[in-house]
Symmetry: C2
Subunit: 328 residues, 2 copies
DNA sequence: ATGAAAGCGCTAACAA
DNA sequence: TTGTTAGCGCTTTCAT
């Protein structure tokens, strides 16, 4: 294995100069720089990261802990984060907590051990309620999930507003009995529930909501029961892509016609929402922007650890489609 | 920061003993072990990974480079790999090459720099054609993509067989003019194409295939043209979930009825294939098994670097659904 | 079973 | 601008 002394010898300079050159530090003559670069190239030298990290205390690494990598929403965010990180020469440790607080805690510990510069986290509810960012030796940026009083940098959707507008849209279509199915684990479901409640109240309508475990199977079961009911609700609204999926399955299985028999709508502009017939009205989340913003926020925090906490609230986009067409 | 000497002092032993205890090495008395563990706990000691890696040369880390993290197929594999790794106390560096050979090369270099124990890779075609596993300082296990003569451990689907059976099924439904749309970049598309050709030949039917760039937009464009044609083909078959998505979009846009006007089928058992009406016949890939097997293969290779190269070929599962129902 | 001590390869403080 | 050198925190050899 070729090391820094080999390069130094070959270039006829000291290891310090080599170090300066490969780290891009100033204080090296152009000639030296060239000689070192030539030696690096000819020897195929690559600095030992472990040594470098041990000595410098820096890792140029950041962590990304998502709550469920299989959820396309988080996949998109991961891709966006990774892309920006790649452009900035940063390494990303991508971890999947699988909605398991224990795994999440493990990875948070691991981030500490890895001495990362910072972490982007979509927290499980368990940790969110007791999160003290100051207790971690690295800056933390939350994505997707965040309570009103959480004291950390965060990038989130305006969940209340998005659900409000979605509900408002349904009401404008003349729908009256609108049932909201929401994932009760986590913060986004309940926040969206609030938006739904507010919109219903504003229209003087009676709300009806079903909190469920955020799995499509559960959503399907609950939706199936609702579809059996006489009279049937006018509309079903899902608080997430996962819930929407289960809901769509139930609708298909029950053989009811959308939007004639019932209207449906939900969150997350997943590819399949435009494939089914009719296509489904959803709130699109700006996943790319969320990921990029989170990374930018993290980088800024690393640069200025003491600046005040920021929360970036992004607006969802209402995509009106066939599933909520007004009945004629 | 508390370090190993602090623990040694507190426990009244040498740093060597502490090291042995925290590394689970033998040659320590039970009493010493307990004293050290107590000290570790009371001080909240966590070994410095950089120092440990520098000194020992080991990292207990492996790399996973997927060609496209947004493809659910790879997401599933990532989750499976990560899950097994987590259980084995291994870290996974998950990287997304984004189907970009340059990014792939960068990450492969990075794996070398990180001194990982091994890498699981779904290679882009660019690298696959010239892959020399021996030129990497770590063992390599390929997933999903692999040429017949690739000299590396690999876990792949029997693409030929899967496409053959899928085509056979269509032929058995009485369909005659069956057009195969396949991603021409990569190895899986062409391999599946071969299976299709063989099945058509065996039935004495004239094949017709369209190689396309593996993006759903391209698939959609090509499918739209095919749907316009008079007479229309009897069936459209997609070589991947991505192609199938574009195909389904085209079918929906054209307003043709499945399976009466045309039958469609493809690869990858994605959630939406059961949501559209009718649901779509597909070949399911055992993603969990692929991921788990890849990691196991890698671990075995790490343990025995010189054992002969293995290739695990998994069988796809034909899921017959409404989109290929025989016409009455 | 235990401890003393030599580095792993690099960076950065300091001297020149 | 350049070089010398002292460690970063740990593992591991070699004595004991």
């Amino acid at each position: 294995m070729v090391k820094i002394v080999d390069v130094a010898k070959q270039a006829g300079v000291s290891t310090a100069s080599v170090s300066r050159v490969i780290s891009g530090l100033p204080g090296v003559s152009e000639e030296t720089r060239e000689r070192v670069n030539a030696a690096v190239k000819s020897l195929g030298y690559r600095p030992d990261l472990a040594a470098r990290r041990l000595r410098s205390g820096r890792t140029d690494t950041l962590g990304l802990i998502v709550s469920d990598i299989r959820n396309p929403f988080f996949t998109e965010i991961s891709r966006a984060v990774e892309d920006v990180a790649y452009q900035n020469g940063l390494r990303v440790l991508l971890c999947n907590a699988d909605e398991d607080p224990e795994k999440e805690a493990f990875y948070l510990e691991m981030m500490r051990d890895e001495n990362v510069s910072g972490v982007i986290l979509s927290p499980t509810l368990a940790i969110l309620s007791s999160l003290r960012p100051a207790s971690y030796p690295f800056p933390l940026v939350l994505v997707d999930r965040c309570e009103r009083d959480t004291n950390a940098d965060a990038v989130v959707l305006d969940n209340f507003d998005a659900a409000y507008r979605l509900t408002e849209h349904l009401i404008a279509q003349g729908l009256r009995s609108i049932v909201f199915l929401y994932g009760s684990v986590g913060s986004t479901g309940p926040q969206r529930h609030q938006g739904y409640l507010a919109a219903m109240a504003a229209a003087g309508l009676a709300p009806e909501a079903e909190p469920i475990a955020p799995r499509s199977e559960r959503a399907r079961e609950v939706a199936e029961v609702l579809l059996q009911r006489q009279p049937r609700p006018d509309a079903l609204v899902a608080s997430s892509g996962l819930v929407l999926l289960g809901m769509a399955e139930a609708v298909k299985a029950a053989g009811v016609t959308v939007p004639t028999d019932i209207a449906i709508a939900g969150f997350d502009d997943l590819p399949w929402t435009r494939l089914v017939t009719p296509d489904i009205t959803v709130i699109r989340q700006p996943t790319d922007e969320i990921g990029q913003t989170a990374l930018r926020l993290l980088l800024q925090r690393v640069a200025a650890p003491d600046r005040s906490v920021r929360r970036v609230v992004l607006r969802g986009e209402l995509l009106v489609r066939g599933s909520t067409q007004a009945r004629v």
